[in-house]
């Protein structure tokens, strides 16, 4: 009886904590969404209520036209898709080499490779920007895409999955005359699909939300801007139009939100891949 009470109290405490944490995470998002949908551009009422009443699409519409958000979304979509596909392909190839091929200095090379994860992106951004400049890639899609095409984390992740594949699979394939590329394409990659899905999703999210590098490589060329840096143009000196930015934020976050809902299961499966081998 007493034990039950203690357990119940503990459970209640745990849930209370979770509710508070959830509130802390969700509230700012809720506030932004309400700000975006409640008031028309140029209207300010104090104190603002956050209750979902008198909703209007006018702010989002104004943000869409004034910010040229359609174009920005397309740019972001294009860049993110290209980077995602590229990262999955380069990760597969490099992971295959590290997992299945024998070559001199393989171990040290892999460690050196992993060590690059320790270097924060901020350290390399200046030199990368100079390289992009010398290649004439400022204000271009290749400037946005190419530097992100290889991911250490991706190589590491896929290599771990490859290492878990039974070595006899590779040997059986070798006896059947299967070459490396064919084995990668027909056996190793399909067997790593959950992980590849998760890697793809992470990469897409990361690229979509990237700010630092796009802000360096795109300098005012509105044709190549991604949505994250393009939102800048919605900033306004007129304090009464501040909610235009919130409208833009909602538009920028929507595709990501949809993707997360659609691929949530894939994501969880990828993260727990190997943990629960069937």
């Amino acid at each position: 009886m007493a034990a039950d009470t203690v357990r119940g109290a503990r459970k209640a405490g745990r849930y209370t904590l979770l509710v508070v944490l959830a509130f802390i995470v969700v509230f700012p998002i809720y506030a932004v969404v309400m700000q975006a949908f409640k008031t028309g551009p140029g209207s300010l009422d104090h104190p603002r209520s956050l209750l979902p009443v008198d909703l209007t699409l006018s702010t989002v519409k104004a943000a869409w036209t004034q910010g040229n958000l359609g174009r920005l979304l397309l740019n972001s979509m294009f860049v993110s898709l290209m980077v995602t596909v590229g990262v999955v392909i380069t990760s597969l190839l490099a992971a295959y080499a590290f997992a299945f091929l024998q070559f001199p200095f393989k171990g040290p090379m892999f460690i050196a490779f992993l060590a690059t994860m320790l270097v924060p992106a901020e350290v390399t951004v200046v030199i990368n920007e100079r390289t992009a400049d010398s290649l004439g890639w400022i204000n271009s899609f290749q400037g946005l895409i190419v530097p992100s095409l290889a991911s250490t984390f991706g190589v590491f992740l896929v290599r771990q999955v490859f290492l878990q594949l039974p070595g006899e699979l590779r040997e059986a394939a070798a006896l059947d005359g299967v070459g490396h590329l064919r084995f990668l394409w027909e056996v190793a990659a399909p067997l790593s699909r959950p992980t590849l899905g998760a890697l793809g999703l992470f990469t897409f999210l990361g690229t979509w939300n990237a700010y630092l590098w796009p802000s360096q490589v795109i300098r005012g060329d509105r044709a190549h801007e991604t949505i994250q840096i393009g939102l800048e143009h919605l900033k306004n000196n007129d304090i009464s139009k501040i909610n235009l930015v919130t409208g833009g934020l909602v538009v920028a976050a929507l595709p990501i939100f949809i993707m997360l809902v659609l691929f949530q299961r894939q994501l969880v499966r990828g993260l727990t891949a190997g943990a629960v081998k069937g």
Partner: protein, 301 residues
């Protein structure tokens, strides 16, 4: 041909060398009359069945069986037909559309076999293919493999540590220990005339009794006597005390201690059976005794 030996004796390595998965450090590998040391595995005209079967888990049974043909560029309809034939040979037709994960161990094993069969190799290599099956299934599959060997006219090289498999399936048996070939011969030959003390003790259940040098006859030879040849004889030369009596129904195993040497005798259930603690005397027909050099372990005629 069966490669038989305890774990770690090098039988799998030998098989993998034949397959080309490992390179020999010395010596030549011949398949038929062809030296294949420098021939890629895929060009050796061999197929291998792995202990773990190594099926592609994301492909259906049909796709698994077809895969070697697909790699060789065989057309789709021919591929499907040959896969069907191989599946039919092994009774796998109902499973063709399933994935390996939905099959039982025995069925997976047959898929691995079918995948080897479609290639029509001149040599089949099998690395302990039955070791992951339960006892009953192992017995059935053993018979199936023997039957298969009769129907398709290819060489089988079969690795096992199970002497029962070796005895029942082999045309010839090669016994290995510590990377050294001990003896090659027909199963009966290896059983009747073991070339070394190791072979003598490795083949046969319970193993052959091996008497230390000097216990029976000369000081320089060990004498081996199979349990079925060790008879109770009141005037026998070997005196021992009964330690254990095991009634197995069709036979009785009598374990006795002769001055620290363990002796096992196989008796008819209808014979007189002494009890634990009884002193007994054994004898064996001189023609049924095996002699091995006390130091090298090799057979002395």
């Amino acid at each position: 041909m069966i490669l038989l030996g305890p774990s770690g004796c090098g039988k799998s390595t030998l098989l993998r060398t034949v397959a080309g998965l490992e390179d020999p450090t010395a010596g030549d590998v011949f398949i038929g009359d062809r030296r294949v040391n420098d021939v890629q595995p895929k060009e050796r005209d061999i197929a291998m069945v792995f202990q773990s079967y190594a099926l592609y888990p994301h492909k259906t049974v049909a796709a698994n069986i077809e895969f070697p043909l697909k790699v060789r560029g065989v057309g789709k309809s021919q591929r499907a037909e040959e896969a069907r034939n191989a599946a039919a040979l092994l009774g796998l037709e109902p499973q063709l559309k399933r994935k390996p994960g939905q099959l039982s161990g025995g069925q997976r094993q047959r898929v691995a076999l079918a995948r080897a069969i479609v290639r029509k190799p001149s040599v089949f290599l099998m690395d302990e293919p039955l070791s992951n099956l339960d006892a009953k299934l192992r017995g059935d599959t053993r018979a199936e493999l023997v039957d298969l060997h009769r129907r398709i006219d290819s060489t089988f090289i079969y690795v096992t540590h199970d002497q029962v498999e070796a005895m029942t399936m082999g045309t010839r048996v090669a016994v290995l220990n510590f990377g050294k070939l001990q003896q090659v011969g027909t199963p009966q030959d290896v059983y009747d005339r073991p070339a070394t003390a190791f072979v003598a003790q490795f083949i046969g259940t319970p193993p052959m009794n091996l008497l230390p040098a000097g216990m029976l006859g000369s000081d320089s030879v060990q004498v081996g006597i199979r349990p079925e040849h060790l008879k109770l004889a009141p005037g026998g030369e070997l005196h021992a005390v009964v330690r254990q009596v095991e009634h197995l129904g069709h036979e009785v195993l009598l374990t006795a201690d002769a001055n620290g040497t363990r002796l096992v005798s196989r008796l008819e259930p209808s014979a007189f059976i002494p009890e634990v603690g009884d002193p007994v005397a054994f004898d064996a027909d001189p023609g049924r005794r095996h002699h091995f050099d006390a130091t090298t372990g090799e057979r002395v005629p």
